[in-house]
Amino acid sequence: MEKNIILAGVGGQGILSIAFVIDNAALDAGFHFKQAEVHGMAQRGGAVQSNLRYGDSEIYSDIIPTGSADLILSIEPLEVLRYWHFLRPGGWVVTSITPYVNIPDYPETDELLTELAAFDNIVMVDTAHIAKAAGNLRAQNMAAVGAASELLDFSEDQLLGFVEKLFARKGEKMVAVNQRAFKYGRAAGLFFRGLVDGGMPRLAAIKLSAKLAAETIDPEHAGAWAEALGADENKLETVLAEKEAVACDQAAAFA
């Protein structure tokens, strides 16, 4: 077994915190691992990435070869585009849909999300929405790693343990916020996959997910939602037109 992950984002978004959680889980599990990261100039709001590799036999290169990445985990949608040629056939993308706009020529968000949604193996989550619900907008990175956790080789508890270790210094409240973001993110990732597996178009699936109250999202209900809305845009519009966030167990109300 070998897993190659490209962590992507913008300097300051906290991809090294994601790396910390996975590195420690890998070490704890007795895997070999290497994790290359970017320091210096690029950290000032530039595009940053980290190549994280673990497995049960020796890892040679610190850099993931083109065509060898199993997963791109991005806290920012545009940044996926920078790296997805590294993906092996069958590899996955897990990305936030929250744009980080600090450049003049940032593409239209709708176009960007449409382009991403055309990719078969993608999980899209609204990390800003999730992190806010968890109690701190800065916890988007933990929401993202939560959304990807199903594709990693560690139990949820193992990963949550290292989220705790990472934030312990900052007090119990921060630990709780970040663990919540991780859990909501995990649920949102699974929910999104459930919707898509149930036949919902990806763009519709992410729009719906973003409309549901993040703390209520439960992958169990994905089937019901997929059945209730299917590919019917009008029905989706009805949900989106709701004033308040919708609870996840309310699918039947929109059928």
């Binding site: 290359a36 000032r44 070869p65 083109t66």
Partner: protein, 527 residues
């Protein structure tokens, strides 16, 4: 066995601590900074290792040499271009030799992720006639420190450990050992060895050249230099390039391989390999140093040597597994998605609210009375002002070079000759050119951007900020009327332009200090 997650840089630091180091020296510079920071962090508690940033790499090197003179072990760390600054002390330390172990950890930056060039420090090791280790992974970073210190003490030579960005800034689990106690204070009594008057220096230099056969013998016998003869196609691979090779090889490959991680170049092993193969690919992350040595001026008879000089590997830039794969003649791996074309770039930028933004906005406006004014700049966050939207500076060459270059331009008759330099860069390399310019009464304007910290490399302590900075500047003899202090804020914009215009109009040296703390430093409670 205990395994810790460490960056290559951190593994160097911990290796040095466990080798019984008594002092670490350096000046911040990507990708070497984390060596020092790690040691500083973990030794804060017990405090028995001297860990205080130096004003520049030359000072750092000399302090380390003094620690060695006193019989204790010292590590000095810097980035590749920092070694240019330290070169005087470095070259001569090879001639004096050491007393306590002296190890230089230097981090090169192939691909120039955060540097002005990609010079290869192995040349410096060869130039100074000292041994060099080149680790390929984090474990070797740690382990080689023990060997490097041992060798330095045993043979009385400084020893280089050469890193590249990709290992400096990559993490892995590292198995650690028990900590060796530090050396006792035991100052050297060999006065002639340390006093490089020509008569002594000749003797010392002879000692150094006499050590060479022993250094070579050790490299030949080193387990870091492994030769595995197989088929007629050979690869000579240095340092971490080894990883890129093995990343691409199946276990049943038939290549003859010589891996090199300890120098001087083990000529005997190279000879064996060359005698065995018809063609030889040389892989090194840096300059084609070994490649050119092996090929020589006229090439090898009967063996085609391939590498950066022959196009199999690009002449410049960082090595990676894809480049090596192609050079090995293997087909590219299939991918799930084609590379994106025309993707919006996301370059780094000054932080929101950075004081430099206000300084340069004012400077741009103050200078707009001139036709196409050029500003000499230096190295720090403020170099980002070269990019849009500010586009306020027009050079970046070497630490402190802004002032020297502005002076030279002024000598040539260029006006206004303006230099912009940060407080830490000023203490590193700006004081001497300022002194020179003031004493010559050159017509130039220097903007010292005092943000009270070393911003770019992660908020290290600046040596000359606030009052210290002012006193140093005044100490050069500059006229007090032409030493101005401004606070770069949006509110002071007009007033700051005024100050700048006044000094631009003055025919002589002037210094304006733009003083406001880096907002990152404020956020972290450092300033």
């Amino acid at each position: 066995m205990k395994r810790e997650i460490l960056l290559g840089d951190e593994a160097i630091g911990l290796g040095a601590i466990h080798s019984g180091m008594s002092g670490i020296y350096g000046y911040p510079g990507t990708p070497s900074t984390e060596i020092f920071e790690y040691v500083q962090r973990v030794t804060k508690a017990d405090g028995d290792i001297h860990a205080f940033w130096s004003t520049n790499e030359k000072v750092a090197y000399e302090e380390a040499l003094g620690m060695s003179w006193a019989g204790k072990r010292a590590l000095v760390c810097m980035k590749h271009v920092g070694l240019n600054v330290a070169a005087d002390a470095f070259m001569n330390s090879a001639v004096t030799g050491t007393n306590g172990g002296l190890v230089l950890a230097v981090a090169d930056d192939p691909g120039m992720h955060s540097s002005q060039n990609e010079q290869d420090s192995r040349f410096f090791a060869q130039f100074a006639l000292i041994p060099c280790f080149e680790p390929r992974n984090q474990q070797e970073c740690y382990d080689m420190m023990f060997e490097a210190f041992e060798m330095s003490e045993e043979l009385s030579v400084p020893v280089m450990v050469r890193l590249v960005t990709r290992i400096a800034h990559s993490r892995a689990g590292v198995a650690t050992r028990d900590r060796r106690p530090q050396n006792e204070l035991d100052p050297s009594k060999e006065i002639k060895k340390w006093t490089l008057l020509p008569s002594n220096a000749r003797v010392q230099y002879k000692h150094l050249t006499d050590k060479q056969p022993e250094l070579l013998r050790r490299a030949e016998e080193s387990t870091h230099n492994e030769l595995r003869l197989a088929g007629k196609s050979g690869v000579l691979v240095c340092g971490l390039a080894d990883n890129y090779l093995y990343e691409n090889l199946e276990s049943d490959h038939d290549l003859s391989i010589l891996s090199i991680r300890q120098y001087p170049l083990p000529a005997g092993k190279v000879r064996e390999l060359v005698d065995h193969v018809d063609e030889l690919l040389v892989l090194e992350d840096g300059y084609p140093l070994v490649e050119n040595m092996v090929r020589g001026l006229f090439g090898l008879v009967g063996v085609r040597v391939k590498g950066r000089m022959t196009g199999e590997i690009p002449r410049t830039g960082e090595l990676n597994p894809d480049i090596v794969r192609e050079a090995l003649g293997l087909p590219a791996l299939p991918t799930a998605h084609a590379p994106q074309t025309e993707l919006a770039n996301r370059p780094p930028a000054l932080c929101k609210g950075c004081p430099h933004t206000d300084s340069f906005r004012a400077l741009n406006e103050a200078l707009n009375i001139f036709d196409n004014p050029q500003v000499f700049s230096d190295i720090g966050c403020y170099t980002l002002a070269a990019l849009p939207p500010l586009e306020a500076v027009h050079s970046c060459v070497a630490m402190g070079a802004s002032i020297g270059m502005a002076a030279g331009a002024a000598h040539a008759g260029y006006s206004p000759a303006v230099a912009a330099i940060g407080d830490s860069t000023f203490s590193h390399g700006g004081i001497t050119p300022l002194l020179s310019a003031v004493q010559q009464h050159v017509n130039l304007n220097i903007l010292v951007l005092d943000n009270s910290t070393v911003g770019m490399t992660g908020l290290q302590r600046s040596m000359s900020t606030g009052q210290t900075l002012d006193q140093i500047i005044l100490g050069t003899g500059i006229e007090e009327d032409h030493f101005r202090i401004i606070e770069p804020t949006p509110r002071n914009h007009e007033a700051n332009i005024e100050v700048m215009r006044e000094e631009l109009a003055y025919d002589g040296p002037s210094v304006i200090v733009a003083r406001r703390a880096c907002i990152e430093a404020l956020k972290h409670g450092i300033s």
